[in-house]
């Protein structure tokens, strides 16, 4: 089931395009739209919902809209209660259109939904409103996790036929405390290990997205600034969507190293989809 948490904003309209396109890639081709309002429904909500419904109709996607008053527990909790738990449910939501402080995700309903991990969540930041949810060129940074691209596959399946070019990037992080650059032999070993990992990810992606034809490319780099490399790679390959797994960092790690996801959201030149599967 694909659920779209719509807040009735202009930013929400941009995210809606992704939700509709994602729904068109699901087997049941249905989009369930939820709007939870705190005090009153958003301005011109009916008009906006009607536009989303029109877009669904154009793509042959079934559409249902539900308006719910917010409970005392809050919008995020209400949405969690409304969505069936488990990996069969994916909820699409949006990050902030404007940063609060330096954060686009922290403190938002979407952040709480991602943290809940009761169902799959995709939180989107849109900086390419003109592509209307059809990114075409997608960047998938990977971090060497033993699970490979397993967590990202559901999101890539949602992108579906809109995926024209997938670039897998593995940034091997060089220690900031390292006093000297690794020698050539050590560097080649690190890069070779990275390439082997990336080859596995590519095979998984190709197998999982088999019906769709898309170009696949990959790169492995050694760098101290992982986020910087992601941004450079996105610009270099004219990427329209960067897919990031939700951070598993602990509080001390976040204090020391900051949040790479927030930095990508802040400095990105492409739309960003932050995803997390159900636990």
């Amino acid at each position: 089931m694909l659920v779209f948490a719509y807040d009735g904003s202009l930013n929400g309209d941009w995210v809606a395009h992704y939700a509709v396109r994602f729904a068109a890639s699901t087997p049941d081709r249905c989009l369930r739209m939820l709007h939870v309002h705190d005090a009153a429904p958003a301005n011109h909500l009916a008009e906006r919902v009607a536009r989303i419904a029109d877009e669904c109709r154009l793509l042959g996607v079934g559409f249902s809209a539900e308006l719910h008053p917010g409970a005392s527990a809050g919008v995020a909790e209400r949405l969690i209660a409304l969505c069936p738990p488990g990996p069969g449910t994916t909820l699409v939501c949006g990050a902030r259109a404007r940063a609060r402080g330096l954060a686009f995700l922290a403190g938002t309903v979407s952040a709480r939904l991602l943290a809940s991990a009761r169902f799959g969540v995709v939180a989107l930041r849109v900086v390419h409103p003109g592509v209307l949810g059809q990114p075409g060129r997608v960047l998938l940074p990977v971090a060497g996790h033993p699970r490979g691209a397993a967590d990202a596959i559901p999101l890539l399946r949602l992108i579906g036929a809109d995926l024209r070019h997938l670039h897998v990037l593995f940034v091997r992080e060089a220690s900031r405390l390292r006093l000297h650059d690794p020698g050539h032999v050590a560097l080649e070993r690190l890069l070779a290990e990275g390439r082997a990992y990336v080859a596995r990810v590519e095979d998984e992606a190709r197998a999982a997205l088999a019906p769709h034809g898309f170009a696949l490319d990959a790169s492995v780099v050694l760098a101290k600034d992982v986020v910087g490399e992601i941004l450079v790679c996105a610009a270099r390959h004219r990427v329209r969507l960067v897919c990031l797994g939700a951070s598993e960092r602990t509080l001390p790690e976040r204090i020391v190293s900051g949040s790479p996801i927030e930095r990508v959201l802040r400095e990105t030149t492409a739309d960003v989809a932050v995803y997390r599967g159900a636990r």
């Binding site: 904003s9 202009l10 930013n11 309209d13 301005n43 011109h44 008009e47 906006r48 536009r51 029109d54 154009l58 793509l59 259109a97 404007r98 849109v126 900086v127 390419h128 409103p129 003109g130 592509v131 209307l132 059809q134 006093l179 000297h180 650059d181 050539h184 390439r195 170009a215 490319d217 990959a218 790169s219 760098a223 600034d225 910087g228 941004l231 450079v232 610009a235 270099r236 390959h237 004219r238 802040r266 400095e267 990105t268 030149t269």
Partner: protein, 883 residues
């Protein structure tokens, strides 16, 4: 089904943006402004300059100087009157000067942003509630309807809803010099950024009027993304930056280790704590080359000035040296290797290859002009060089290209992906669609039998292999109802007129420049959007590939598109040197492949869509004459004359700068040893301290500074381009340099200086083991002898460092007058230290007897000759270059 903003009908676009042709209501606009934010480009964080300045004080070098300064102030409190306070201020000043130098360089990123912000207008006319009002562009929001007219700069990305003969210049974004005819119609296929029904922030309107509904503002515009990238993404450190960081780390580590070691030793042998602190500071100060960083910066700055005289503008000081480490140059063809003076040299029948004459020739050229975009300015034809060349050729036949151009009712602008331009002309009741472009693009649409097409293929290959640019021209009559039909309808069943051959001569100096690159071990690779055979022919003429190079020497964009990075690396390993029919995105792949091979890459470019490749390369080289502002901002080097040969001159200068850096690093490091040995001897043996800390600083920041700068200004010695490029592996500070500076030159200087020191003491009646007061005139004379000996020895070192293997006198002292000034200043300083009372008080020096002065002065020839003997012993004799 593609449904991006440019694929939608006008009504659908307005509905999607919840707007109307009358525009938004003011309240709607205000609400959206609060939600989305102002239409401004990314700004650097507030007080970023303060953070940047603070960063300069946080590196290891500065921290060491700062901590040492603090210790000096504390030591001055504990034991006043020993000059530790003065030393503390001196160290703090050095840290500040170093920080300011590097800070000034890093602030240039701010200036790059200013160029982008200037591309946006401040006000624009928009429709609000049906009225046309002037609004601040900062207040534009998605859904606003812009009223556009000739001369307007576009403030945001927008979808056209009305278009009347609109013509836009999208060069700031696309780099294409061709102007784009705009339409409000939906576009069925093609990339968003190439769509003729969109206008983009930063671009300008040359003609016509219309209206457009905004869909992206601020950092969500295409321009905003470029701006965001330029602010947030730092270029990776250049080879020199890496080397300087490494050098500073190594020297700082040596200083710290030695200082702490002798502090511990002093404690172990029972010396008082603060005495040990003073010695530790002395050793640290002796080891840290305080003047090195400003000298490096000055050498780069002077190198930049010399490059500017050779038409190479350097936007970043580190790029001066980065050029010198380049191992691969990826160059454009048109305008860089060639003169960009396109001229029609032939109009031929495609099937027979015979020259057209008479009516056929005229008809072909007229069709070509219909598919062109030309204007008249100050009596001359302007536009894309290819279009102008066709128009000039038509004029020579007596035709009127401008009049013909005015009869064109529809234009389909040049498509960089599809490599063709087209137009529809209405004349004398007849309408005709014409297309001109690459043969392989036109070929599928012409009505010729296969046999004729095969013969045409052969003709095209033959002409291209002669180095000519070959353009196919075709046309057909169209009905009035077809004029606005989709391109795919118009491009069907065309009549092939023939081929236009254009020549763009190679620049005279290019073959010699390419040969110099090869001698210097630099690989030259041609990356062009042109035909493969033309590219191969030009590459052969330039000397990039052998004259008999076959098709396998060329990799086309189509092949490149399908290749993975490691496959491209494999091709490059096999010697691929020509890439044809490439797009700007494929340039990035080529850069990425070379970087994966660990090579230092320079890439040339002129358009905005070259900007990512220019940033990704280790050295981005933009064209100054024909390039766009954004390409120039993305690059580190700008060729003011767009000439490939200037890149080679820049490489030579860059190599010279690096070689000079090694020279003055070696020069400066050599004096560390005679500064440190007196402390070590003093700690271990019962003898007086041979050189005070203030005297050490007077050498490092005084007498050594100008000579070091002078070494940084040595002109190219003719050997720079005879060596292989140093690439990423080349070291500023390598084992050989360290051994030579510390264990040879430094030890010789130290032994000589300490000998003179003890001789002066001995001659004054001091004996081994006897204490002597720091204020004793004999002691002051003795330390002066050490100081002056070091200074004179450094003169010999200065001359010797001018050449790696030859005598430093081989090229003559007058080839670099700054060397002479440096020597004169060193001598003057030495004299002042001996005979000028104010300096006696400041440095604790005193007069020397004349025999001691003569002995100290012998240090100059001594060190020079000893060093020359070492050079002769370690290498075969190299003949001196002709004067």
């Amino acid at each position: 089904m593609d449904r991006q903003i440019h694929n939608l009908e006008v009504a659908e676009t307005l509905s999607l943006l919840r707007s109307r042709t009358e525009g938004l209501h003011p309240e709607e606009a205000a609400a959206r402004l609060v939600e989305i934010g102002p239409n401004t480009l990314t700004r650097p964080p507030r007080l970023s300059w303060l953070r940047l300045l603070g960063k300069q004080f946080a590196n290891l070098f500065s921290l060491l100087l700062d901590v040492s300064a603090v210790l000096c102030f504390v030591a001055d409190r504990m034991s006043p009157g020993e000059g530790m306070g003065v030393l503390g201020w001196a160290l703090a000043s050095v840290a500040l000067i170093n920080a300011i130098f590097t800070f000034a360089q890093e602030m240039r990123a701010e200036r790059a942003m200013d160029a982008l912000r200037r591309m946006l207008p401040q006000r624009i006319t928009a429709r609000r509630a049906g009225l046309e009002v002037e609004v601040l562009t900062e207040e534009l929001v998605p859904g606003d309807v812009l009223v556009l007219s000739e001369g307007d700069r576009i403030p945001a990305d927008a979808r056209l809803v009305e278009s009347h003969d609109l013509l836009a210049n999208n060069a700031p974004l696309t780099g294409e010099s061709r102007n784009v005819s705009l339409t409000a119609d939906r576009v069925v296929a093609g990339a968003l950024t190439d769509s003729p029904n969109l206008v983009f922030a930063g671009c300008s309107l040359l003609r016509g009027s219309g209206a457009a509904v905004v869909y992206a503002t601020g950092r969500r515009t295409e321009l905003g993304k470029i701006a965001s990238l330029s602010v947030n993404v730092r270029r990776p450190p250049t080879p020199l930056e890496r080397e300087v960081t490494r050098t500073v780390r190594v020297l700082t580590a040596v200083a710290l280790v030695m200082g702490v070691a002798f502090f511990a030793y002093g404690l172990a042998v029972g010396r008082p704590l603060w005495v040990n602190v003073v010695f530790m500071l002395g050793i640290i100060v002796a080891n840290v080359p305080e003047g090195l960083l400003p000298t490096l910066t000055l050498a780069l700055a002077m190198g930049g000035l010399r490059l500017a005289r050779k038409n190479v503008l350097v936007k970043s000081l580190n790029a001066v040296e980065a050029l010198g480490s380049v191992e691969v140059i990826c160059t454009d063809k048109t305008g860089t290797l060639t003169r960009n003076e396109l001229a029609v040299t032939g109009v031929v029948d495609a099937v027979s290859g015979e020259a057209h004459a008479g009516e056929a020739r005229r008809a072909l050229l007229e069709a070509a002009v219909v598919a062109s975009e030309i204007h008249e300015q100050a009596g001359a034809l302007t536009g894309d060089p290819l279009d102008v060349a066709c128009a000039v050729a038509l004029r020579r036949l007596g035709g009127d290209p401008l009049a013909l151009s005015r009869d064109v009712v529809r234009r389909l602008a040049f498509d960089v992906e599809r490599r063709r331009a087209a137009g529809v002309v209405a004349r004398g009741g007849e309408r005709r669609f014409s297309i001109k472009g690459a043969w392989e693009v036109v070929r599928p649409h012409v009505t010729l039998p296969e046999e004729a097409l095969a013969r045409a293929d052969a003709v095209v290959r033959r002409l291209a292999s002669d180095g000519l640019r070959v353009i196919a021209v075709a046309s057909r009559e169209v009905a009035a109802s077809e004029v606005d039909a989709a391109e795919v309808v118009l491009e069907d069943r065309l009549e092939l007129h023939g081929l236009i051959c254009l020549s763009d001569p190679l620049r005279d100096e290019v073959p010699a420049a390419v040969a110099r690159c090869k001698e210097a071990g630099i690989r030259v690779v041609l990356v062009t959007g042109d035909h493969p055979d033309t590219a191969r022919a030009i590459a052969a003429l330039a000397g990039i590939v052998p004259v008999d190079a076959g098709e396998e020497a060329v990799i086309t964009g189509a092949r490149l598109e399908a290749m993975r990075e490691h496959e491209i690396v494999a091709q490059l390993d096999r010697g691929a040197a020509v890439f044809a029919r490439t797009t700007p995105e494929q340039k990035l792949k080529i850069v990425g492949a070379f970087k994966r091979m660990g090579l230092v890459v320079a890439m040339t470019g002129d358009g905005v869509n070259d900007a990512p490749a220019l940033r990704a390369a280790d050295v981005g080289v933009a064209m100054g004459a024909g390039g766009t502002d954004v390409a120039r901002e993305a690059a580190q080097i700008v060729l003011l004359d767009d000439n490939f040969a200037s890149i080679v001159a820049g490489v030579e200068e860059g190599r010279t700068v690096f070689a000079n850096m090694r020279k003055f690093t070696s020069y400066v490091l050599a004096s560390n040893v005679p500064e440190m040995i007196p402390f070590l001897v003093y700690v271990v043996l019962p003898v007086p301290l041979g050189l005070t800390v203030l005297q050490i600083l007077s050498v490092d920041l005084g007498s050594d500074l100008l000579p070091a700068i002078a070494l940084g200004q040595e002109p190219p010695d003719g050997e720079a381009m005879a060596r292989r490029p140093r690439g990423f592996g080349g070291r500023l500070l390598d084992t050989r340099l360290l051994l030579r500076s510390y264990l040879f030159l430094g030890l010789v200087e130290a032994a000589f200086a300490m000998t003179v020191f003890f001789l002066v003491l001995w001659s004054g009646g001091w004996r081994y083991g006897l204490p002597i007061s720091a204020t004793d005139p004999l002691y002051r004379s003795a330390t002066t002898a050490t100081l002056v000996s070091v200074i004179f020895a450094q003169i010999g070192n200065l001359v010797g460092r001018r050449y790696e293997a030859r005598s430093g006198l081989d090229r003559g002292l007058f080839t670099n007058r700054l060397i002479l000034v440096g020597v004169a200043l060193e001598i003057a300083f030495a004299i002042a230290a001996m005979y000028w009372p104010p300096l006696w008080r400041a440095l604790g020096t005193g007069p020397l007897p004349s025999w001691a002065v003569a002995l100290a002065a012998a240090g100059a020839p001594l060190l020079f000759l000893v060093d020359l003997a070492r050079k002769r012993a370690s290498r075969p004799r190299i003949p001196s270059p002709p004067r």
